[in-house]
């Protein structure tokens, strides 16, 4: 994964101005902030509110509503396990438990060394090659114990 940029108000301003005049720009701006900084920094919220003529509360409300937006950076690797029905039907419950045990963290947590964030996702659209996961943006289908273990090893580096 590309390393996150350190917080910079100038960089945040540049991102915001790139969306000048766009209809409903809040989500596109937040996505780009997260891409740059690895999360949506607290300091970006008033800047976005100011630029879009919104209250801070409104922007804060958007950041907290959507599961994707992080308020702290994730670990170096992000493993998203699909926990929806199609993957459950194909043995996903046992794999999720195995991943949690191997990493010593629960879904939604980041390992103490900052290497791995383990998350649940509800459907990657890979339901015909279930169970599925995504690690650092790379898709993985037909997961079994062997493939999961390899994936976890990669995510601990």
């Amino acid at each position: 994964m590309p390393a996150n940029e350190p917080w910079s108000a100038d960089r945040a301003r540049e991102i915001i101005s790139g969306h000048h005049g766009r209809e409903g720009a809040t989500l596109p701006i937040l996505h780009e902030m997260q891409e740059a900084f690895g999360h949506v920094p607290e300091a970006a919220v008033p800047m976005i509110a100011d630029a879009l003529n919104l209250s801070r509360a409104e922007v804060y409300g958007v950041v907290t509503f959507y599961h994707d937006f992080r308020r702290q950076p994730a670990g170096r690797h992000v493993v998203k396990l699909c926990r929806a029905e199609a993957c459950q039907a194909a043995g996903g419950d046992a794999l999720a438990a195995r991943a949690e045990a191997a990493l010593g963290i629960a879904l939604g947590e980041t390992s103490r060394d900052g290497a791995t964030t383990l998350e649940a996702t509800y459907c990657l659209g890979l339901c015909a090659v279930a169970p599925a996961a995504m690690i650092d943006g790379k898709l993985c289908g037909r997961l079994d114990e062997t493939r999961l273990d390899a994936l976890i090893a990669e995510a601990r580096r």
Partner: protein, 518 residues
């Protein structure tokens, strides 16, 4: 002679190694000095055979699958020497699973290069738009109405009627919004068409724009689909370069342009009014209707909001005529439905067919039963808000009304297969859990009821005061069903109540009926 191969770039194929297979084939060919061209296509939808590699031969394409990196060398031997390899599936067009389908919407998916506008046009693309331009908006609208097309997102509202309302509305700006927030587990038709034939969606949205007088379109794609986002953006850029989007669509007097917006991981944004809120840059809180989006939609303007498959079905309807589409199907369900077989199924994938095929045919014959080899016990049809069906209801034909009559829904056409190891009480609890996680919070029955639902199912599973808690659960489901604004709170009772009705033994009660014969 250059060997011409076709390998999917579809996310489902990538997840099982399509990129690695393409790289291995390229390597081996280079070592041998063999000229090789690889076209990255969409998927044909036969996922148990992915990664599937096709080779162009004088008599059409021949398929191989599922291919692994280790097969690369032997595969090239077989292709060049024309002897049969163990993974050879024969001519693609003769594969029974494909041959039995009626591929109208997915006609090009897996065949063409999704990055190439020329390839799209060479395979019949933009014929629908051409006809719409020659007919004009009113006749186009009539054609869509006559086709009998209903919303493929799940609600099944007649598309032509929706368009007609927007066409009649007076405003300085109207919008076409495509709902590509395909969050239902067990569904992937939207993803496949966006990755495999994005131009058909662009063409459908353009026709919609011309029919109702809208000049701007948005495709709202969920963030879990990064490959679909890339494919749509590339296709939109290509269509613009080729003059098929912009101030003069295809050289006509009509203007239409569109852009992709990416969601942020909220299931409820698949609900149309929540999606509109999200597009406007707000929390995805459901709006009360009326006003209908057709009157006051995106930014308060008249808006057509349709599912991906509804819009992608329009080019075929316009090219071949509404009557031709109407000839497929049964009852009030006209045309074809891309049905998605998923979960614990031997032959999972996308199967486009006319309405009317039975659930049993789909699961047992087409799906081939479970992947685990154990008996099928339950199938969930229509995503996390759809009902669980036991084998006893496998004679239900795939039709909006037939499913509704049996307290279910076809939704977006996903079927998730479970074997006999499934615990239906656990599935009922998950339905409530999912609703609790994803509720937008606007309606109390959905926001609070789902959490109370999880607790109540837990008590039933633990055997605490079972009869009383079952009554509470049923009451909660009724409150959610009738007291929620949208389908999230309103339909969560479907999986819960169907699990309870058809599989009472999993909730600690003795079986109330004989199991249907396997």
């Amino acid at each position: 002679m250059t060997l011409r191969l076709f390998i999917p770039r579809d996310a489902g194929a990538l997840a099982v190694g399509a990129d690695e297979v393409a790289a291995a084939l390229t390597d081996v060919a280079r070592q041998r000095g063999l000229p090789l061209e690889i076209v990255r296509t969409g998927s044909r939808g036969l996922y148990w055979l992915e990664p599937m590699v096709e080779v162009a031969t004088p008599s059409g394409r021949t398929a191989y699958g599922p291919v692994t990196v280790a097969d690369a060398s032997a595969l090239l031997d077989a292709m060049t020497a024309e002897h049969r390899h163990a993974l050879c599936l024969g001519p693609v067009e003769d594969i029974a699973w494909l041959k039995r389908q009626s591929r109208l919407t997915f006609a090009r998916c897996g065949i063409t290069d999704p990055r190439s506008l020329e390839d799209y046009k060479a395979h019949g693309g933009y014929k629908g738009l051409e006809r719409a331009l020659s007919l004009g908006p009113e006749a186009t609208l009539d054609e869509v109405k006559n086709s009998g097309l209903r919303g493929r997102g799940g609600a099944g509202f007649p598309t032509g009627v929706k368009w007609g309302t927007v066409a009649l509305a007076r405003a300085d700006q109207k919008y076409i919004v495509c709902n590509a927030d395909e969050g239902d587990s067990g569904t992937f038709a939207d993803r496949m068409i966006m990755e495999g034939d994005p131009f058909v969606l662009i063409e459908g949205m353009t026709i919609a724009g011309i029919a109702v007088g809208a000049t701007k379109g948005y495709v709202y794609i969920r963030s879990e689909y990064p490959h679909a986002v890339t494919a749509m953006n590339a296709a939109i850029a290509a269509a613009r370069r080729g003059g098929m989007l912009g101030a003069q669509v295809g050289g006509s007097a009509y203007a239409f342009d569109m852009e992709v917006r990416v969601g942020a991981g909220a299931y409820v944004c698949g609900e149309e009014t929540s999606l509109l809120e999200s597009l406007e840059g707000r929390r995805g809180i459901v709006r009360a209707k009326p006003p209908l989006p057709a009157h006051k939609g995106l930014f308060g303007k008249p808006t057509v909001i349709n599912n991906v498959i509804s819009l992608a079905s329009v080019p075929w309807i316009m090219a071949e005529g509404g009557k031709a589409y109407q000839d497929f199907g049964m009852g009030r369900s006209r045309g074809t439905m891309p049905i998605q077989l998923a979960g614990n199924v031997r032959q999972g994938g996308l199967y486009e067919t006319a309405f009317g095929v039975t659930l049993g045919e789909l699961v047992d014959e087409i799906g081939g039963g479970t992947a685990s080899g154990r008996p099928v016990r339950a199938v969930q049809v229509g995503g996390p808000l759809g009902a669980y069906f036991p084998r006893g209801l496998f004679d239900t034909p795939f039709d909006y009304e037939a499913f509704a009559a049996r307290d279910g829904l076809i939704g977006h056409g996903g079927i998730v297969v479970f074997d006999d190891s499934v615990d239906m009480a656990k599935q009922a609890r998950f339905a409530m859990e999912f609703c609790a996680i994803e509720s937008c919070g606007k309606c109390t029955p959905c926001r609070i009821g789902s959490t109370r639902g999880v607790e109540t199912v837990n008590r039933i599973i633990a055997g605490e005061d079972r009869a009383a808690n079952l009554a509470v659960l049923e009451d909660l489901c009724n409150t959610m069903k009738f007291g929620s604004l949208c389908a999230l709170g309103g339909f969560t009772p479907y999986p819960v109540m169907s699990a309870l009705t058809h599989f009472p033994e999993d909730f600690g009660a003795p079986p109330h009926r004989l199991q249907a014969a396997e």
